[in-house]
Structures are given as structure tokens and as C-alpha cells.
């Protein structure tokens, strides 16, 4: 059940330049699934729209959520100033989440790039499979690496080559000659396009999490759509709503 509520910040730290790691105490944690997101509302009334931020981790006792986000503008800049005890306005939980059960018993790549890395963490925690986490960063600021290592082998790619493979996550897979039966991924569009192509070529299934500018976050405004191969049940014009029908889609089903 979606709800807008005022929650409480438990902690916040900057884990990489402009990358913030916040734990929020909220009842929404009880329903949170990997790949879902929450919408966070700035308090300053000049910035009204919610900021969609993916759920990075759910506390074991289901009382708190962790978000890891990049400061990109006025709103996220405000959030980055919150400290323990501050209130935070959130709406959630939103989106469909990753269908991780499908991976049971399979060889799986869990791939994340840049600020698309965080949602992969809770996925890695929940998924029962032969998982390999393949994550890409700009440089040696490989945030969340230690967290991933608790749940799976971690293969790293960095744009500047400072850690792991020099290049992107696809380069890392090739360089290490890795293979998988399935892929779950979140990251920038070029990365997702490459993964879609790779999965098609290998004839394996890939679930990708998409991003788009959103307004309502609940499927009403039709702001965040992606072209779909088949006529979808809602729009009937091949426009799935990323916030509601997504953000996770079978790479095969969307034209990106």
C-alpha cells in the first residue's frame, strides 16, 4: 500500500564525493522489495516535485530503509544536509522491483553502474543464486564494494582504470571471460543498451531498471514512459509507465 509519510533520518554519511548514504526509519520498510524506490520531497517550497531514489538496503527487522544517492540539484542538495533525527518526507514504496525469484539456482550477473549501483545491493542480499556482482564506477571511489562482498563475488570496472577493469561493466565481463544465464541491471542508458544487446546475443534474459524524469511517481501523470514492444495493458499505445509498470523491465520488452 503506497503512502506519503514523514519519516526520521537515522544517519547520513558522504561515502564518495557527492554520494550520500542515508538510513531512514520508516514503516515502509516492511513492504520494500529490491528494485523498488521511494520518492523524497524537499522541504523548500520552491522545489515541489518528489525525487525518486532507489532503495539500496532494507534493515533486517524491516524498520528502516537505506538510500544511496548523488547530489544532482537543489533537492538532493537539501537532503544531503539532513542529519540523524531530522524529519524526511517520503512516498513509497514505488515500482515493481526486481523479480529475483526467477534467478533461483541460476548463474546470474547483478550489474550496476554509477548511481545505478545502490539498488543492486538489496537484490544481492535477497537473491538465492550463483551471483556475480559486476559494478562500474568512475574512479577508485568504489562505494558499497564492501557491502557487496558480504553477499557475492564482486567484479569491478572503473572508467579511469584505477580499480579492476579499465572501462565499463561489459568490458569487465569480457576481460574476465564471465558467463551467466541471467542478468539483473541498473545504470545509465548506454550501459543498459549494451546489456540488452549482450543478452539478446547470448539468448539470455535480462531485467533492467530504467530511469526517467517523474512528476507523480504513482502512474497518474504519464510523465515517465518507455516505449514497449507489445501494446501494454494500461496505455494501449506502447508506453509503459516507468514509475508503476517499472522501473524494472525485461530488456526484450522495451525499446531503449
Amino acid at each position: 500500500m503506497k503512502e506519503k509519510q514523514t519519516a526520521t533520518v537515522l544517519s547520513q554519511v558522504e561515502i564518495a564525493p557527492a554520494i550520500f548514504d542515508m538510513w531512514i526509519e520508516t514503516s515502509l520498510a516492511a513492504q520494500a522489495k529490491p528494485g523498488q524506490f521511494i520518492a523524497v520531497f524537499p522541504k523548500d517550497r520552491s522545489t515541489l516535485l518528489p525525487r525518486p531514489i532507489s532503495i539500496c538496503e532494507v534493515k533486517e527487522d524491516k524498520t528502516a530503509l537505506r538510500i544511496v544517492y548523488r547530489v544532482a540539484g537543489q533537492g538532493t542538495k537539501e537532503f544531503s544536509g539532513y542529519t540523524a533525527g531530522d524529519s524526511i518526507a517520503i512516498l513509497g514504496t514505488l515500482g515493481n522491483g526486481f523479480p529475483y525469484e526467477e534467478a533461483a539456482g541460476k548463474k546470474v550477473f547483478l550489474m550496476g553502474g554509477g548511481i545505478g549501483v545502490p539498488p543492486i545491493l538489496e537484490l544481492a542480499k535477497q537473491m538465492q543464486a550463483d551471483k556475480k556482482v559486476v559494478v562500474g564506477y568512475r574512479d577508485s571511489k568504489t562505494f558499497l564494494k564492501e557491502d557487496f562482498e558480504k553477499y557475492a563475488d564482486v567484479v569491478i570496472a572503473t572508467e579511469d582504470g584505477s580499480v579492476g577493469t579499465k572501462g565499463n561493466v561489459m568490458d569487465a565481463i569480457r576481460e574476465n571471460g564471465l558467463e551467466a544465464d541471467m542478468i539483473y541491471a541498473c545504470g545509465p542508458m548506454p550501459m543498459l543498451r549494451a546489456i540488452k544487446a549482450y543478452a539478446a546475443e547470448k539468448g539470455i534474459k535480462a531485467y533492467i531498471s530504467l530511469e526517467e524524469h517523474m512528476a507523480c511517481g504513482v502512474g497518474a501523470c504519464l510523465g515517465c514512459v518507455v516505449k514497449t514492444k507489445e501494446v501494454d495493458h494500461h496505455s494501449h499505445v506502447n508506453n509503459a509507465r516507468i514509475c508503476t509498470d517499472g522501473p524494472v523491465f525485461d530488456a526484450e520488452a522495451v525499446n531503449i
Binding site: 500500500m1 503506497k2 503512502e3 506519503k4 520531497f41 517550497r45 520552491s46 522545489t47 515541489l48 516535485l49 518528489p50 512516498l91 526517467e212 524524469h213 517523474m214 512528476a215 507523480c216 511517481g217 504513482v218 502512474g219 497518474a220 501523470c221 504519464l222 510523465g223 515517465c224 514512459v225 518507455v226 494500461h234 496505455s235 494501449h236 499505445v237 506502447n238 508506453n239 508503476t244
Partner: protein, 302 residues
């Protein structure tokens, strides 16, 4: 205390409605608010055939509001009749269907289909969407074009019609009078103001359509002014909208001359806005001993 308002013979339990395009057909927000509490649900615009809408990005935030260029994406009247109307019929609220088209025939097609549906109380005619290339706003920015399409639609409509006017005009009273003269039973104003945002670091338009319709609290003073001017130019009732976020905002529009009001972009900011406004209006009426909400209409001291 009586919060009922009657527009063109249709009585609403209260003056609080949803602005077309911001509330879908109520389905998504029924998870947050009890639709039975609303005066009416005004649906997302529907055309005679499905419209794919514009490319993304379709929305962008601006200071105190947002820009949108959805492009009236809609599944078409067939799906709408099969899915959206039956859903809304479950609730004790009035249904106002927003109708869009690219040609007069498109509009008439939809209007006639809806004529057979008694559950639909009124038709809001969108001749003011700034985000579609053909039709739409072309009908809404010239008085004679507005007069013509209004009279064509009025001839065929079984339900009372509400012409939704564009604020992107020199003189809103001229447009209001043209719609009234052509037989419009009520007016909705304002639709969005055409705006633009450029990302100075990427040097690109924030919206694929380049321009988008601006909504949100930022535009409220312009909307209040136009409602005031229009209400002094015509006798037909006006549904006021434009950045309404609180009961005070809603009352401001009524004092300016609106008989009812719609909540638009603020649904995105606070999904409970509509019901909070219903309650806030009642609180205001109690506080000032106002028996009938209709006593607020145009009640600003001249």
C-alpha cells in the same frame, strides 16, 4: 453547513474537483484518497482514438511548479468506456470527462460516444493544451475558432459542456464571452501557461517538446486574475484552477468568482491535497459562520 454547488444543473457535494491530466481516472489516487469525498473527478483527456503522446523527457521541475508536455497520451474512447467509466461508477462522486481532439470531428466523435453514458455528468472540452501540434490550442487562442468549435460541440453534446480556456491569450474575457455566446454551459480556467526550461550545463531543453505547460503554485496569481476577469465578463459558472495547494487557495479562487475549483499539479506533491481542501473549506466556513459555500463565490470586497 452546505458545501453543495450546482453548475449547469449538475449538483456537486462540494466544489473540489481534480484537474484533468493530473489524476488519471482516479485509479492511482484512490489508494490515497477516498474518491467519495470529492465533488467530481475530472478525467485525463480522452480522444476518439489512442494517442501516443510526446517523447520523453515530458516533465521538468521549475520554481514553484512544473512543466509538462505529455502530449495528451490517452488510450482512446473505447478503452476509456470499458475500463475507466466502470471504475469511476463505483464511487459516489460526479464524473466529468475531459475531451480532446485534433479536428472538430475528433471532438464530436468522442462527445457522441459519451452521450450514451448517463454516468458522465459533464464534458470538459480541452481546446487549450499547449503541447500538441495540431488542433487543441489552435481552437483555444482565437475567439472565432473557439466560438465555432464550441457551437459545433454544443449541438451534439447530451451533457452540459465546459470549455477549458487557455491563459496564453491577450484577453481572457474575449475568449470567455465567445465560449458563452456559443453555448458553453460553464468554463474551466486556467489551463497551463506555455513555458520553457533550458539546462545550462548540457545546453539542452529540459523537455523534448522544447516548451511545456507550466502549472503549480507559481502560476496562481495569474489564474486568480483571469478567473476574476472572466467571472465579470460572463454569466456562466467558472471552475477555477491553477496552483491550488490549500483550502485558502481554493477559497481565494471562489472569492475571485469561481463556482468550483480543481486541484492539479499539487496532487503530485501531496496526494491527499484534494480531501485536505474539502476539510479545510469546511473549517473556514465554520470559522467565519458561512452557511452556504456558494456565499463565497465572487465575494471579494470590491
Amino acid at each position: 453547513m452546505n458545501t453543495q454547488v450546482t453548475l449547469a444543473g449538475v449538483t456537486f457535494k462540494n466544489p473540489v474537483m481534480t484537474a484533468s491530466g493530473t489524476f488519471g481516472s482516479g485509479m492511482e489516487y484512490s489508494e490515497f484518497v477516498d474518491l467519495n469525498r470529492l465533488g467530481a473527478v475530472v478525467t485525463k483527456g480522452v480522444a476518439n482514438v489512442p494517442w501516443p503522446g510526446n517523447p520523453t523527457p515530458r516533465v521538468a521541475e521549475v520554481y514553484g511548479g512544473m512543466l509538462n508536455a505529455i502530449g495528451l497520451q490517452n488510450p482512446g474512447i473505447d478503452v476509456f468506456m470499458e475500463r475507466d467509466i466502470p471504475f469511476l461508477k463505483q464511487y459516489d462522486t460526479k464524473i466529468i470527462v475531459n475531451v480532446c481532439g485534433k479536428s472538430v470531428e475528433d471532438y464530436l466523435d468522442v462527445v457522441e460516444r459519451l452521450g450514451d453514458e448517463p454516468a458522465v455528468s459533464m464534458l470538459e472540452i480541452n481546446v487549450s493544451c499547449p503541447n500538441v501540434k495540431e488542433g487543441a490550442i489552435a481552437f483555444g487562442q482565437k475567439a472565432d475558432a473557439l466560438y465555432n468549435i464550441t457551437s459545433e460541440i454544443k449541438k451534439r453534446a447530451k451533457q452540459p459542456i465546459i470549455m477549458k480556456l487557455s491563459p496564453n491569450v491577450t484577453d481572457i474575457t474575449e475568449m470567455a464571452k465567445a465560449a458563452e455566446a456559443a453555448g458553453s454551459d460553464a468554463l474551466s480556467l486556467i489551463n497551463t501557461l506555455t513555458g520553457m526550461k533550458i539546462d545550462v550545463h548540457r545546453r539542452k531543453f529540459a523537455i523534448a517538446n522544447k516548451t511545456g505547460g507550466m502549472s503549480g503554485p507559481a502560476i496562481k496569481p495569474i489564474a486568480v486574475r483571469m478567473v476574476y476577469q472572466a467571472s465579470h465578463a460572463v454569466k456562466i459558472p467558472i471552475i477555477g484552477m491553477g496552483g491550488i495547494a490549500t483550502a485558502e487557495d481554493a477559497i481565494e479562487f471562489m472569492l475571485a468568482g469561481a463556482s468550483a475549483i480543481s486541484v492539479g499539479a499539487m496532487n503530485f506533491v501531496n496526494p491527499y491535497t484534494t480531501v485536505e481542501i474539502v476539510e479545510g473549506i469546511e473549517k473556514y466556513m465554520k470559522q467565519y459562520g458561512i452557511e452556504n459555500v456558494t456565499d463565497l463565490i465572487g465575494a471579494v470586497q470590491e
